[in-house]
Symmetry: C2
Subunit: 645 residues, 2 copies
């Protein structure tokens, strides 16, 4: 069998004739990010074949000059004759951790954030002075601990984990009965999961985790004061198994597919935990609680629950509220008896990320004003309601705004182009990157800017086709497909141009159409229109900025008075944080989950009509976007207003 060697790293693997390079890499333990799931559409798995013979079908995806250089897509290339040596250099955006500066990213309106008096976490570390053992009263160790806890907490049932039982005898006798007990506040009872000698009330930590289809983020929280210490995010290691929830569900049907998906997402979560802990010198075993929010499919896969019936009519998942599970049961590498709390799910495609995300909106309050919440992710979710009703739906937007299905797309991470303007005359782009360094690719907010500006300057038409008529060296036509160069090779980090092609644009167009039409249809179902809304909340992994004017110009968001919009960033992560630090917010979330109804778009025939109408920049019906029409007429290319709440 042919041998394939990957450099640098010199990992070698023997594989059958015609094995895909991507599979060979996986077998050799070389991780190559493939947001599209190896479908040949995202262009992320570029490698260079240094020697050996391969059969590649990369030309449609990569510029001719790259192919001439020996560059191929690993997912479109099969091994023919050994020895094949493959370089996985800088050109490959491998899975890489990203840690964020916390202070700047709280985008939530102040009045919706937990206040000091709400600080009331699910896990507490409680100092107790335990009466010393005495022969007279015949009280066992645990009885004395229970009495001391009840003195402070009232007559609750106290249960002990086996680990806590094993710790108690020595802990009680080490410092004259002064101990610190870690308590988990379950409904109706307290669970003691750890007993340590002395005062250990400091160094008390928890985690908020957002498990997205494409991106996973873990946030380390100090429970001493409820402060966020830091956040790390990364691509979900499940991506090679499929780019969206449907392809993951299909993958789970393979013989060990479910186990592989489960272990891959755990790998990502645990790596992020290690990383964020390392950054802040916290021992993961000091973390005694984690709140995990994910869509329904992600929640099921993380728990190893068969997701098949989520995809099959009548679309019924297994579990809404998960109950008490420990870190060791779930496979999360923190203190083994920690409670892993899962944000409750609502429907097949409206999960814990949404019930968490809503905590940053008026919908979690008793406001009568009607609000809309749009979560822009690989799975797009829309919720509308007020204190009287709450309705949700979901659509499959695809990973475009998170960098999937876009050759030079990437997450909102260091080196991502996050803002763009385009010169009307030359068609050249001006940009800025996250962190200010050389560009590595373009993230969602950059794509929105780019497409809005290309549209405004006339370099693309309403259907997303690039202008082939006006001469422009930045537009390269290759067969039926054209591409636009944003940054020349010389200016980029990898020495490769950052560009966008018409296939990329089509993916973005589809994503925005799916989201807009889901919102429009759902409002219609409850007898409302966009103009009835008091607030529109937008969540998503765009980093710190989302250009509102441009998002409206491409038709991602409705054309409403701008002050109604609130961009709230990764609201799933933010909501997880709120649940970690506040029992009141946890109750609010449960109330949200209980009163929310779920509209299944899969079975709604009008959805396709709405969607088709939205497959233009901004829409086939320009009456819906009066300000855009006016702006296009004026040819107004003024600098966009940045929405930063």
């Amino acid at each position: 069998m042919p041998v394939v060697e990957f450099v640098p790293g010199n990992k070698r693997i023997e594989v059958p004739f015609r094995t895909q390079l991507l599979d060979a890499a996986r077998m050799a333990g070389v991780e190559i990010g493939t947001p599209c799931g190896g479908e040949g559409t995202c262009g992320k798995c570029v490698v260079t074949v240094l020697s050996g013979r391969v059969d590649s079908d990369s030309l449609g995806q990569l510029p001719a000059e790259m192919v001439a250089d020996g560059q191929v897509l690993a997912c479109r290339t099969r091994v023919l004759e050994e020895p094949v040596v493959v370089e996985i250099g800088e050109a490959v955006e491998r899975l890489s951790l990203e840690s964020h500066d916390e202070e700047a990213t709280c985008l939530v309106r102040k009045e919706l954030l937990p206040k000091d008096w709400d600080f009331d976490p699910l896990a507490v570390r409680w100092r107790l002075k335990i009466q010393l053992p005495r022969r007279e009263d015949g009280l066992f160790d645990l009885e004395r601990v229970t009495r001391a806890i009840r003195r402070d907490w009232g007559k609750l049932t106290i249960v002990y984990s086996l680990t806590a039982m094993r710790q108690v005898a020595r802990a009680l006798r080490a410092e004259d009965g002064l101990v610190t007990v870690t308590l988990i506040r379950e409904p109706g009872q307290l669970r003691a999961i750890r007993v340590e000698p002395g005062d250990r009330t400091t160094g008390h930590h928890a985690l908020a985790v957002d498990v997205g289809t494409t991106t996973v983020a873990a946030q380390l929280i100090s429970l001493t004061h409820g402060k966020v210490l830091g956040t790390c995010s990364d691509y979900n290691a499940q991506i090679p198994c499929g780019q969206d929830v449907i392809s993951r569900i299909n993958f789970a049907k393979r013989s060990t597919g479910l186990q592989e998906l489960q272990s891959r997402v755990l790998l990502t979560v645990n790596r992020l935990i290690r990383e964020v802990c390392r950054n802040h010198s916290v021992d993961p075993s000091e973390i005694c609680n984690a709140v995990i929010s994910g869509n329904t499919v992600m929640t099921h896969l993380l728990l190893g629950l068969d997701p098949e019936y989520i995809r099959l009519d009548p679309y019924v998942p297994t579990v809404k509220e998960v109950g008490y599970l420990t870190a060791s049961e779930v496979g999360i590498d923190i203190y083994p008896d920690s409670w892993i709390y899962f944000s409750p799910c609502v429907g097949s495609y409206v999960g814990g990320d949404i019930t968490a995300g809503l905590l940053s909106t008026d919908l979690a309050t008793d406001s009568e004003a009607i609000s809309l919440f749009i979560d822009i992710g690989t799975n797009g979710e829309v919720v509308v309601g007020n204190c009287d009703f709450l309705m949700s739906c979901a659509c499959s937007a695809g990973p475009a705004f998170e960098g999937g299905g876009v050759v030079c797309g990437m997450r909102a991470a260091l080196g991502a182009i996050e803002k763009v303007t385009v010169d009307r005359e030359t068609g050249s782009a001006q940009y800025s990157t996250i962190g200010g360094g050389k560009p590595k690719g373009i993230c969602g907010s950059g794509m929105i800017d780019l497409l809005a500006n290309l549209r405004l300057t006339g370099w693309i038409d309403p259907s997303g086709k690039l202008d082939r008529v006006r001469p422009n060296p930045l537009i390269e036509v290759d067969g039926r497909r054209a591409a636009y160069q944003i940054v020349p090779a010389a200016e980029t980090a990898a020495g490769r141009p950052v560009f966008i092609n018409e296939a990329d644009i089509e993916n973005i167009l589809r994503a925005k159409a799916a989201i807009y039409s889901a919102a429009a249809l759902m409002l219609n179902r409850v007898g409302l229109t966009f103009s009835d809304l008091a607030h529109v909340y937008i969540g998503g992994g765009f980093g710190r900025f989302l250009d509102l004017e441009n998002a409206i110009l491409i038709g991602l968001l409705p054309d409403l008075p701008r002050e109604k919009f609130h961009y709230i960033g990764n609201s799933s992560l933010m909501g997880s944080y709120m649940v970690v630090v506040s029992q009141d917010y946890r109750q609010r979330q449960l109330d949200l989950a209980h009163r929310m109804t779920y509209l299944e778009l899969n079975t709604d025939s009008s959805y396709m009509d709405e969607y088709t109408g939205a497959l233009f920049f901004p829409h086939t019906d320009l009456d819906l976007f009066p300000s855009v029409r006016e702006r296009m007429l004026r040819g107004n290319a003024k600098m966009p207003k940045i929405l930063q709440v």
Copy 2:
């Protein structure tokens, strides 16, 4: 280093010069039973050295003829020069499983047994017809299961184990919504631990387990009708780490001592489970509940809880009531999410075996008559009370009645001499064995018979010394120590004589004195005497029979009207069974544990006086035993009356 080889089996091990043969065996994976913990007192670890040079100090324990044959005690022999070849033939009573016929061993008074209407087990397998998934109601799988359970069981909280969650999606869709759910009935909630498709209500099993210091017994119960299917028992594999609870606590202080003790007892329990399941063609994974009763130290060791403070003033253990622990947490090899329920403990040396054992006595009812419960084991426990008060204490009796510390002693297992008479003139013994085969050794009931008859016929004196004056070929005097041959070598299974020596007799004397004096002292403490008792219940591993007259004659039991006595056998196992099958009995047990007070004999100075007085057959104060005095005077050697209720 010298090499030691064990035959048959040909296991070889290289060990340092002067390594003890017992340690060499342990290292080579050869298990040799040492009820005394390798103290050189039980004489159980006899092996034959076939070649090589050893340094042995076995002579005090073994008859000269055995030593001349090359037989040595493995615990008293060190390896000198290789190659040492050691035969561990029939002569060694290795750890061996014993399974019992169930029908004949229920010794409990009928009115105290659970009735048909009490059958109400802690774990149930419940058939449910679950509404099929429907798009309209938006109910997730678990919600529909919860609704169906509540329809039958009322508005309880229903929680699901992760395993059950993983099973539910497929199970609900396999047979049109017909499923069988295994439910654990915790206080205030139901825990669903298994969801299977179709009707699986048959084949539902549970375990009752008695974990004794010396002997462990596991009983398989069909929960279809609450019937006992079979029982297996074996020596506790902890024995090589110490013969009684104190020496085990000491062993636990070694660096990995606690872990070793825990894994050894789990080894025994799991082996017994495999065996009893194999005997009855039951898959251990079909067992969904186990009730374990052990003394406080055994309970702590099985859970890996540090037992040190049980032994240290003020004698305070960790846990009385263990709460919800699963089989996988505890390390019991049955269905992983099964509830392992531990019988509640009362004090340092009065544990779950006693709260279980009391269920077979009037003390678990609302009777006003005063009852005494004596559990005869390595740890002896005594409880006195009625519906108004309940007091308990414990004493260290040693393992003599279970075969430990007695050279030819053994458990009440196949081949054990269980009944003995002695001819007044010739001094020769007549005996019968359990199972009727050739004798292998003598069990507790046989020892009681033997000593009573030797005393009655004058072959031993009140202090337990053998008659050295009257000529008798069965009495062999070796230095200061004499031995009495019960069965000549030719008649035994192993071709070695079954005998008892004066050291053995002293161990039995100490055991009976410890128990009698604990009972006497406790009655005294509550202002009662033996004559105030309406019932005396005797528990212990004597097999099916305990000769009451003889037990009184040696002073193990008080001299009371015979009809007051009830021998109830292994009451800890019986009580565990009752808790498995009846929630009412479980509640009775908790009530017993809560209202029982505990008297610490370690700190009672009068105990030593009582004990010293009881170190005679039957007692220094013969006025306490009028019927014995009369019987001795009459020289009445009539056949003993067998007490079999």
